[in-house]
Amino acid sequence: MGLIDIARSKSPWILHFDAGACNGCDIEILACLTPVYDVERFGIINIGNPKHADVLLVTGTVNKRSARVLRNLYDQMPDPKAVVAIGACALSGGVFHECYNVLGGVDSVLPVDVYVPGCAPKPEAIIEGVVMALGKMQEREHARKRGAA
């Protein structure tokens, strides 16, 4: 494992985007950052700039207007990157799946690595989701390097 890989797996920076959530999952993501859960002690920082982020956390259903923003944010993130869908709405549309303005879950727009179920998922579940995404990201990176060698 190279130095950059170590740094990435020990200090992933996350980007959060609300694609159409009720706020419940968003405040649980913020709660992860605050003293009781305090993910910053693991080096996880919530960052506003997609160009600095490793993991994209998406909450809520994707609608026609937010799909473009979501796609833009994803495209701006440097590789390797991972996407975590948080909450029932981000998984499938949840209670809103039949609404006229809803395209469906996050996977209708982006490739999703980890699905965190719940309405709203507890902060512990969100943290576990991010950790799982890091594992997947690393696996992918190793496979890419093996392919190149």
Binding site: D26, N63, S66, N101
Partner: protein
């Protein structure tokens, strides 16, 4: 020479947990015009409510907003109870007040934290959110879930709170108040905080009324209005005096919310002390018919539901009017003339809840 620039503020911005876009036209560093663009979290809840069963809708309207979910359910159930002629048992009315006020407490803590973060005071943000976790623990203990608690149902509440949990709640609130004393002291008296908030984003009383402001934004401009005075749930016995400040700036809006936290603490204690010993729910019979309006006070202001039913399983129309939507017009009025660096603080000062606004 003064230069004009247009800056898009949002939809994805570090101070905004939710997507809303403001197109800011700047003359050098001064905002000349702000144009809001919404629609990023529109789902179509009102239409979906017409397709679902009226009892299923309770779960749908709760998910309009994850911060004050209980109060949305309360407003909806209250309207249906009026249409169906149901008398809610007194204990249920008191439990509704307890959960509503706990939601107000957590919402104001959440806001005070985000607000501190907006002017860059991160340790204060952490302090408020540390206290907020105590309230989340109360929700988890009493209702089984942290965010969407689903405690309200048509005809009463879904579950009772045991005496032991009521005692533990009172204990927790004592710890919470001690922590709140310390952090609110900083919010009100710190020199740097005052520099960032006093005199920013001023809204005069006449403008506030004309633009239709609601909730703490209206009360911070000196207008005495609180939907809890209408006496829904158990507020007819637990009287509420509206908290009013007169300055109308960001500092006054924070002060109104800080005083409302104390008021809510007092209300929860009074409701627990006076909790009557009756049933917690009546069984709804028949189907709703007719039209009604239901008003409650949300942490952000007055929430209003219009319900039209025609005696069938499904509602004819559900219209939701949320306080943040009412506060967007005052916000657009507050921004011109302020500096770009103050924009996040002023935007946050109305406590925007976009998922309520767009549904």
């Amino acid at each position: 020479m003064a230069q004009r620039t247009v800056i898009p503020f949002g939809p994805q911005h570090p101070v905004l947990p939710e997507p809303i876009q403001l197109k800011l036209t700047l003359k050098d560093e001064i905002v000349e015009e702000a144009l809001p663009h919404i629609g990023y979290v529109h789902r179509g809840v009102e239409k979906a409510a017409e397709r679902m069963d009226y009892t299923q809708n309770v779960f749908l309207v709760e998910r309009i907003c994850g911060i004050c979910s209980f109060i949305h359910a309360l407003c909806y159930c209250q309207g249906l109870e009026r249409l169906m002629g149901l008398e809610v048992p007194r204990r249920a009315a008191y439990l509704r007040v307890i959960w509503s006020e706990l939601h107000r407490l957590q919402s104001h803590h959440l806001w005070l934290g985000l607000y501190a973060d907006a002017f860059g005071f991160e340790s204060l943000f952490m302090e408020f959110w540390r206290s907020r976790e105590m309230l989340m623990d109360i929700f988890e203990k009493t209702a089984g879930s942290r965010v969407i608690i689903s405690a309200c149902c048509i005809g009463g509440v879904r579950r009772d709170i045991s005496d032991q949990h009521l005692q533990e709640t009172l204990e927790t609130l004592k710890t919470l108040e001690a922590a709140f004393d310390k952090s609110s002291e900083v919010m009100l008296n710190d020199y740097t905080v005052k520099k960032r908030t006093v005199g920013k984003g001023v809204l005069q009383a006449d403008k506030a009324i004309m633009l239709g402001a609601a909730g703490p934004v209206l009360r911070a401009s000196g207008v005495e209005q609180d939907a809890r005075q209408t006496g829904f749930a158990a507020y007819d016995e637990l009287r509420v005096e509206p908290v009013v400040e007169t300055a109308g700036d960001c500092y006054a809006r924070a002060k109104v919310r800080i005083r409302e936290v104390r008021q809510s603490l007092d209300l929860v204690r009074r409701a627990i002390a006076g909790l009557p010993d009756t049933d917690i729910a009546v069984r709804p019979k028949g189907r709703p018919n007719g039209r009604t309006i239901s008003r409650v006070e949300q942490p952000r202001g007055e929430l209003l539901y219009f319900l039209a039913a025609n005696g069938s399983q499904k509602l004819e129309r559900l219209r939701v009017r949320t306080p943040t939507f009412a506060n967007v017009a005052p916000l657009v009025h507050m921004l011109p003339g302020s500096e770009l660096a103050d924009v996040p603080v002023i935007v946050l000062s109305i406590d925007p809840c976009i998922s309520c606004t767009e549904r």
